[in-house]
């Protein structure tokens, strides 16, 4: 079955974009609670709804947006913010690399458009569509588009709700970010061999809070965990 499909050249068309945007809808619905949680957690950090929504529009990478909240204080530590977001989103490089054999065959502007809204969810959707013989990279952009709109809308709901509720620790919302990260870490866990990198990252980060400038413990922990994990 795949052999006949490989004869067809990869392409990027409007009909692919349309198909992708519809096909992903059931998966995209699962983003809603996370978007609401981000909006609420951002409110708990004192961020106005306008800025929270702008984050979701411009950055559109949930986990890194949550991570940025941890460093959101005046004056904004731009270097640590940028490096932390880079470290969280470095995984995108792997997603892009996996798509490269396909995307390098379409014209550069369309290639950039396809990657503009790359995330875990539309990557997974696109890869499975590709296994079924899909040759249209438009579905990557289309599925990303649906995810992006839902992410923005759900952030707005959470941010507005959060800003109307007042003191958010009353509702436990100050725990949303660490709870979400804990769940991601537990979900990521693959077995005993993860133990050493995980403990190293945690120990370096905690130690770093004592002798590194504010925020840098995250970078130190990330690099330590990455190096030990290799």
């Amino acid at each position: 079955m795949p052999s006949s499909n490989q004869l067809e050249r990869p392409r990027f068309t409007a009909s692919g974009v349309r198909r992708g945007s519809v096909e992903i809808a059931p998966i995209a619905a699962f983003v809603i609670p996370f978007g609401i949680a981000f909006g609420v957690a951002a409110s708990a950090r004192g961020i106005s709804p306008g800025i929270s929504v702008f984050m979701s529009v411009a950055i559109y990478a949930g986990t890194s947006q949550f991570a940025a909240l941890d460093l959101w204080y005046a004056p904004l530590p731009l270097a640590t913010l940028a490096l932390t977001v880079l470290a969280v989103n470095a995984r995108h490089i792997l997603l892009g690399a996996a798509l490269a054999p396909w995307l390098l065959q379409i014209p550069i502007l369309r290639r950039l458009a396809a990657l503009l809204l790359l995330s875990d969810a539309n990557f997974a959707h696109t890869m499975s569509a590709r296994d079924r013989g899909e040759t249209d990279a438009g579905i990557l952009f289309g599925s990303g588009l649906t995810m992006w709109i839902i992410w923005i809308a759900s952030t707005a709901v959470g941010a507005l709700a959060g800003s109307l509720l007042g003191d958010l620790s009353r509702f436990g919302f100050d725990a949303v970010m660490v709870a979400y990260f804990t769940a991601v870490i537990v979900g990521w866990w693959k077995g005993r061999s993860d133990l050493f990198p995980f403990i190293t990252a945690a120990a370096v980060a905690v130690a770093g809070t004592y002798f590194l400038p504010p925020g840098w413990h995250i970078i130190a922990g990330a690099l330590a965990g990455g190096m030990v994990g290799v």
Partner: protein, 101 residues
């Protein structure tokens, strides 16, 4: 409080960084091959950011957040649902707050 201009500039910076990671993989692949070692490094580095934040926050926080983190971990192990873990942790943190922690 962070003023609006500083916040917007920071968000633009973070958006540029994120976009570079989205485009970067394909760009790099047009020059070199990503080895399994590089892949392992990037994967562990991403999750280590979250571990660092959770570890440092929990270390510095009080019993209420400890309870939240513990609950989230247990619920995730039991149900594999990140949403369930967030809801349970948030509910318990709220409860603990109302009991004065």
């Amino acid at each position: 409080m962070v003023d609006a201009v500083a916040a917007i500039s920071a968000v633009v910076l973070l958006a540029v960084v994120t976009m570079a990671t989205r485009v970067g993989g394909v760009w790099i692949m047009s020059y070199v091959k990503i080895t399994p070692r590089v892949e392992a490094f990037l994967n562990y580095m991403s999750v280590s950011v979250l571990i660092s934040i959770v570890a440092a926050t929990t270390w510095a926080a009080g019993p209420r957040i400890w309870l939240g983190v513990g609950t989230a971990a247990l619920v995730m192990v039991a149900t594999r649902s990140a949403v369930g873990a967030m809801l349970a942790a948030t509910a318990l943190a709220a409860l603990a707050r109302n009991f004065g922690f």
